[in-house]
C-alpha cells in the first residue's frame, strides 16, 4: 500500500480489483478524469460532482453487489451505480455492525 501518488492525479485507485476511486481534488460533473488502475491508465466522464476525498464508481455496480476498495469489501450497493457516479451513504451500506438488522431478526454475519 505504501506506493506514491503521481503529481497532478485526479483520483486514486488503491487496488486493481476496486470498484471505486478516491477524488484527490474537488471534481465537477462532466469532467473527464484519468486515473491509474494497476498498470493501466483509464479515463471516464464524471456524472456528478465528487468532493475531495469522496468516491466515484469506476465500473458499473449492480444493486446488492459487494463494493470493493483497498481490494477488500467496504459494503454493499443499495442501488445500481453507473461509472462516474458519486458512491457514498446514499447508494452503499455497511454489512457489518448492523444492530438495526439484528433487531429486525435479519441475517447477521459474525465475520
Amino acid at each position: 500500500m505504501a506506493k506514491s501518488i503521481e503529481a497532478g492525479a485526479d483520483a486514486l485507485v488503491v487496488d486493481a480489483q476496486d470498484h471505486v476511486a478516491t477524488a484527490l481534488k474537488d471534481l465537477k460533473a462532466g469532467r473527464e478524469i484519468r486515473f491509474r488502475r494497476g498498470t493501466e491508465t483509464e479515463q471516464l466522464t464524471l456524472l456528478q460532482d465528487i468532493p475531495f476525498g469522496h468516491k466515484l464508481a469506476i465500473r458499473a455496480i449492480e444493486a446488492g453487489e459487494e463494493v470493493r476498495k483497498y481490494g477488500e469489501v467496504i459494503g454493499r450497493a443499495t442501488a445500481r451505480i453507473q461509472p462516474g457516479e458519486h458512491v457514498h451513504v446514499h447508494n452503499i451500506e455497511g454489512i457489518r455492525g448492523r444492530g438495526d438488522q439484528a433487531a429486525e431478526g435479519g441475517s447477521h454475519a459474525a465475520n
Partner: protein, 386 residues
C-alpha cells in the same frame, strides 16, 4: 545504536517525561485534585467521572486504568486524592502503583477534615515531590525502549491513503529498532480483522482478535442500531467515508507490516516487545487513556478532520494528510504529510518525517497538545452505575 533520553525508574523502566500525577480515586475528589494542580506548577491531575457505585469487571477496569496511569514510566511520583468512602480503595491503588518503586502519597478528604485542609495538605506534599523530581536528569537510552500507541481520530478519506500508511512506515522503523507499537480501536478493525488476523504470529492471537471483535459486534446488535452515524461519525461521513468497513480498512495501515505478537485487554500492561493489539472502543480519549495506562510512552495520532486531543501523561503527536486541515488547524497538528496526495511527498519519506518527530518528542520537544495544555482523560466503562 540509535539513542534517546529517558528518566530512569526504580523498576528498570525509563520514562520520556517526568510527571507528578495527581489521581482522584473518585469523582468526588476532582475539585480538590484540580486545586492542588493549580497550586503547584508542573503537576497534572486526571479528573474523571468514576470510582463510586461500580462493581465487578467495570470497577476493575476503572482501578486498572488509574493504576496503569500511575505506573506509566512517564510518571515520576503520584499523589492520590481520596474522598474516603468510594469503591476504589486508595491504599490498594497506592500498593499497586508502588510496585514500580516510585513515591506515592495518599490524602483523604474526610480524614483531612474537608476541602480546604485537604488542598493544603496535598499542596505541601505535591511541592515536596515536585522538588525531588526536578532534581532528576534524563540519561541516554536505546530508542528500542520506546513504546508507542498508534491511533486515528476524526478520520476522513485522506487518513486511509496518506497519514495512516505514512505512520505505518514509522511503526516499522520503531519495530526494527526493537521497540513496541500498540494498535487499538476494536470497532475500527470491524471489516478488516481478517487482514490483521493473517499477520498474527500465532493462531491464538488471531482467535483473541476475533473474540474482541465479536464481543463488540454483539454489543452493537444488543443495542439494535446501525453503527453508521456513531462510527463512522457524521464527520467521517462528510469526509467521504461511507461504512465502518471502509474506515477500518483505512485504519489498519497505521501499524505497519510487522507480525502481531499479542492482543490484550483495555488498560492491561503491554506484555512484551513488538506489535500488539489492545481492545478498546474507537473513542479517541478512552482509547488514548487506555494506551497510556497500558504503558506507552507516546501516541501518534492521525487525523483528517482535525482534533485537539492530548493526554495528561503521554505526548500525543498529531499527523494529517489533509492540507486544508493542516492549514486551518495548525494550532493542533504537529506533522503535515499532505504532500502525499499532491504527489510531492513519498509515503516512505513521510514516514521518516513522523519517525523524526517521534525521536525529537521522546527527547523532550513538546507536542502542540502539550504546549496548549490538552490533558483529556477518560476511562472506558463496561457496566451500569449503581
Amino acid at each position: 545504536m540509535l539513542q534517546i533520553k529517558g528518566y530512569a525508574r526504580a523498576n528498570g523502566d525509563y520514562g520520556i517525561r517526568n510527571h507528578l500525577l495527581i489521581i482522584p480515586t473518585v469523582i468526588c475528589s476532582n475539585q480538590v485534585s484540580s486545586r492542588i494542580m493549580q497550586m503547584v506548577p508542573d503537576t497534572v491531575a486526571i479528573p474523571h467521572q468514576h470510582g463510586c457505585s461500580q462493581i465487578g469487571a467495570d470497577k476493575e477496569r476503572t482501578f486498572e486504568t488509574l493504576a496503569g496511569t500511575g505506573k506509566n514510566p512517564n510518571v515520576g511520583a503520584v499523589l492520590i486524592v481520596s474522598l474516603g468512602c468510594e469503591v476504589i480503595d486508595p491504599y490498594e491503588l497506592a500498593k499497586e502503583i508502588g510496585k514500580t518503586g516510585k513515591r506515592i502519597e495518599v490524602i483523604d478528604i474526610q480524614e483531612c477534615g474537608g476541602s480546604i485542609k485537604a488542598i493544603q495538605r496535598g499542596t505541601e506534599l505535591a511541592r515536596e515531590m515536585r522538588r525531588e523530581l526536578d532534581a532528576m536528569q534524563p540519561v541516554p537510552i536505546p530508542a528500542g525502549h520506546l513504546r508507542i500507541g498508534v491511533k486515528c481520530g476524526g478520520s476522513d478519506a485522506t487518513s486511509g491513503i496518506a497519514s495512516n500508511p505514512a505512520l505505518g512506515v514509522a511503526s516499522d522503523l520503531l519495530i526494527a529498532e526493537g521497540g513496541t507499537v500498540v494498535i487499538s480501536e476494536t470497532t475500527e478493525i470491524i471489516g478488516a480483522e481478517h487482514v490483521l488476523a493473517k499477520r498474527c504470529a500465532t493462531p491464538e492471537v488471531a482467535d483473541q482478535l476475533y473474540r474482541f471483535v465479536e464481543r463488540f459486534e454483539r454489543e452493537v446488535a444488543r443495542m439494535g442500531a446501525d453503527m453508521r452515524g456513531g462510527n463512522p461519525s457524521p464527520g467521517n461521513i462528510a469526509g467521504g467515508l461511507s461504512t465502518i468497513e471502509e474506515k477500518s480498512l483505512g485504519c489498519i495501515s497505521k501499524c505497519g507490516t510487522a507480525p502481531l505478537v499479542g492482543a490484550f485487554e483495555y488498560a492491561a500492561p503491554i506484555p512484551g516487545k513488538g506489535l500488539y493489539f489492545m481492545d478498546s472502543p474507537g473513542n479517541d480519549i478512552e482509547c488514548v487513556s487506555g494506551m497510556a495506562a497500558s504503558g506507552v510512552h507516546l501516541v501518534c495520532f492521525t487525523t483528517g478532520r482535525g482534533t485537539p486531543t492530548g493526554a495528561p501523561i503521554v505526548p500525543v503527536i498529531k499527523i494529517t494528510g489533509n492540507k486544508q486541515t493542516y492549514e486551518r488547524m495548525t494550532d493542533n497538528v504537529d506533522v503535515d504529510v499532505s504532500g502525499i496526495l499532491d504527489g510531492v511527498l513519498g509515503v516512505e519519506e513521510a514516514g521518516h518525517l513522523i519517525w523524526n518527530e517521534i525521536l525529537e518528542t521522546a527527547n523532550g520537544k513538546l507536542t502542540k497538545a502539550e504546549i496548549l495544555g490538552h490533558t483529556e482523560f477518560s476511562i472506558n466503562r463496561i457496566g451500569p452505575s449503581l
